[in-house]
Symmetry: C2
Subunit: 238 residues, 2 copies
């Protein structure tokens, strides 16, 4: 409002700014997700997405271990270790990665194809690598703030379950267990991470860094879908 | 034996070579530990050691999180997460770090002094930083092989418990819980890590890297005690 030379503090609270990024830049607005949720994807496109998104999924415990290494107290590390356990499971045959493999099987993608990684698109590899390195090299604040796409995750999971049940009935319903589990886990994770970010980012410069980190993470997810959307049709990702 | 120009494979098995390093270069031979176990340390020296070694202890979960980020399967990560949980505990007031804080209290070092880190010697900081960066930057094989000082840990824990009970009776016995717990944990951890290293290091070059990693780790522990041993006497580490 004023013509002062010093930068004005952002009139929005940090929480408002973060929620605005998660609302405006989350990949639920990406054309590929819009088509997915409208029931317009072919089986080959669904399979290509499952195959490529698994490359992201399998790196979640890696980036969470890198974040854990940045946390300075047993209590904070314990909080973050639970995220790793959510994906890796308490034993073989359980956990989020296993549920994603079963989603693949329900949609007709062999788990060996997912585990091999051989059909992962270059743009997907680079997006995932970028995110892992962001968590490796960034500050704890930046790495935790980047996780706040979880703020929007429960809603997209609900939308996706409805869409799959309505439009993609050729996928066995038990394959959707990953999405169902992430509704509660995403809500809990985002609540914890938001509290940390709001506690750590008191200075305007840190608040700007947190917002930038979340925008970066939205770009990662967006770029991943760009690669999936524009993939060559030959082989159909299967 | 032969005069061949190509390097001879080491006639010892990898396990023999690793056990030889743990036997010959472990810090149980360091003059400071020899004096500790012979009952020759002053209370001020014991306290200085507890204070400085805590700086190492508190970085164990950090290096283990960095190792976890290098492991590629849920099963391996689960194995390594347990090490983090051993030190951080399942809840506040439990775990190895808490037991070390209680060792300090039993020996007359306030936990606030340990938590502040303000009395940590420069050589100790550098040794710990070196080890954490080794785990951050090295290969999974190197990082896991470096953990194999655990092969010798149960023996030194037993020696230490006997020495403390015999020579340092001014330390309350419940303060020794850390050492007691590490006998079993160290045995289990070293068995798991040795199996991984033997599985991964089939090529002579990898076997040499594993041996070098363990020698490096022995140097870290040795250097830490050098710093403690040669610390200025003023303040006595309290």
């Amino acid at each position: 409002m004023s013509a002062s030379a010093a930068p004005e503090p952002n009139p929005q609270s940090l929480e408002e700014r973060l929620r605005a990024v998660a609302r405006d830049r989350y990949h639920d607005r990406h054309p590929f997700n819009l088509r997915m949720h409208a029931g317009e994807l072919t089986p080959a496109e669904i399979r290509r997405w499952i195959t490529n998104r698994y490359h992201y999924q399998r790196h979640i415990p890696v980036k969470d271990a890198l974040i854990t290494a940045k946390l300075e107290t047993p209590g904070l590390r314990r909080m973050w270790l639970r995220r790793i356990s959510d994906h890796d499971g308490p034993r073989d045959g359980e956990g989020g990665l296993e549920r994603w493999l079963r989603l693949g099987e329900a949609a007709g993608v062999d788990r060996e194809v997912l585990l091999s990684g051989e059909r992962v698109l270059p743009g997907v590899r680079l997006a995932v690598e970028g995110y892992v390195n962001f968590c490796r090299l960034g500050s704890p604040l930046q790495a935790v703030a980047a996780s706040l796409t979880e703020l929007a995750a429960p809603d997209i999971m609900r939308t996706r379950i409805d869409a799959f049940e309505q439009h993609y009935r050729w996928i066995e319903p038990e394959g959707l267990a990953y999405f169902r589990t992430r509704i509660d886990q995403g809500g809990r994770d985002s609540k914890e991470a938001l509290a940390l970010v709001l506690d750590w980012a008191r200075e305007p410069a840190d608040q700007d860094r947190a917002v930038a980190a979340l925008r970066y993470k939205c770009d990662v997810l967006w770029s991943l879908l760009d690669a999936v959307q524009h993939a060559p049709q030959e082989g159909d990702g299967r």
